[in-house]
Symmetry: D2
Subunit: 98 residues, 4 copies
């Protein structure tokens, strides 16, 4: 537990260039977690951009993007679940007269 709940700093002397001294080795681990995460988030963001590009292109080609997303979501789910939900949706719609 590098920085436990009840931690009390003995002093306020830490300055920004002494980071490594805070909590001993812990500061390095912390920095590592942060930087690795930042790198992964950047990659993830790039992928999101790629997906957006594809959708923009699809839209330009005359497709309905929202419907394409629906297709993708359906393909992610178990066919049996999809079927059952669509059946129920039909039943409910009829039940309330839609």
């Amino acid at each position: 537990m590098p920085f436990p709940k009840n931690h009390e700093d003995e002093n306020g002397q830490f300055t920004s260039d002494e980071g490594a001294a805070v909590g001993g080795i812990a500061a390095d681990r912390l920095r590592s977690y942060i930087e690795r995460t930042e790198r992964l988030e950047e990659e993830r963001k790039a992928l999101s951009g790629d997906i957006k590009d594809i959708m923009t292109e699809a839209k330009s080609a005359g497709f309905n993007v929202k419907v394409i997303r629906q297709i993708i979501n359906i393909r992610k789910r178990e066919p049996a679940d999809v079927e059952e939900q669509e059946t129920l949706l039909d039943i409910y719609r009829r039940a309330i007269g839609m």
Copy 2:
């Protein structure tokens, strides 16, 4: 269980003005759930609009809306938790030299 998982409709004869007949009394219950929910959602939407109005007014008065939201979020939380997190945030920032 009005519309159980393995339900098989006996026929496809239901038309929209026979809603009540589908699943017996169940159609009425279903309609009730739906309509009550719709009413509550409308009220909720109205409240969201009211909040938005307040924030617009605050902004006109020169306040920073994002910071007001932070204040509100802080006030929702336990003071002890807020204090602890802010302390940790300080410690971590120093540790990595921010």
Copy 3:
């Protein structure tokens, strides 16, 4: 502009019972915005709870909550849009052989 961007406090003397003195009348307006918003959010939360209760009851009665939500979402949209999307969905599914 009560607390403009370049504001510099003249001192750090403010204590919690002098709130009204900070920025003159502005502190009262700020408090008002915050408290009104908090009240509205509480009401909104109560409504969310009511909706959840309805869904819990619906589930107990054997309904599929997810499908009920779908129904509500469909009813919110323009019938023409719903129809068009469902048609497109069908077309796309056939196109890719689903």
Copy 4:
């Protein structure tokens, strides 16, 4: 515009193994958009998993994950904006006596 808004199918003859015939070349483009997106989403999901792993490890090492996320969010923003917001937050808190 492969599947334009006002499209009327001339018939309902399409069957699932004739996908390519629907809208001519368009079906292939559609399939391509979908499959490319699915691949990218899978990669994105993997990255999310990696981030989650890091956070789990950080937690095991005694760090407060929520605070680490705060750090990352702060680092994403312009230092000047961060500084200004923190200053305003202080001012507002004092103003309402927190």
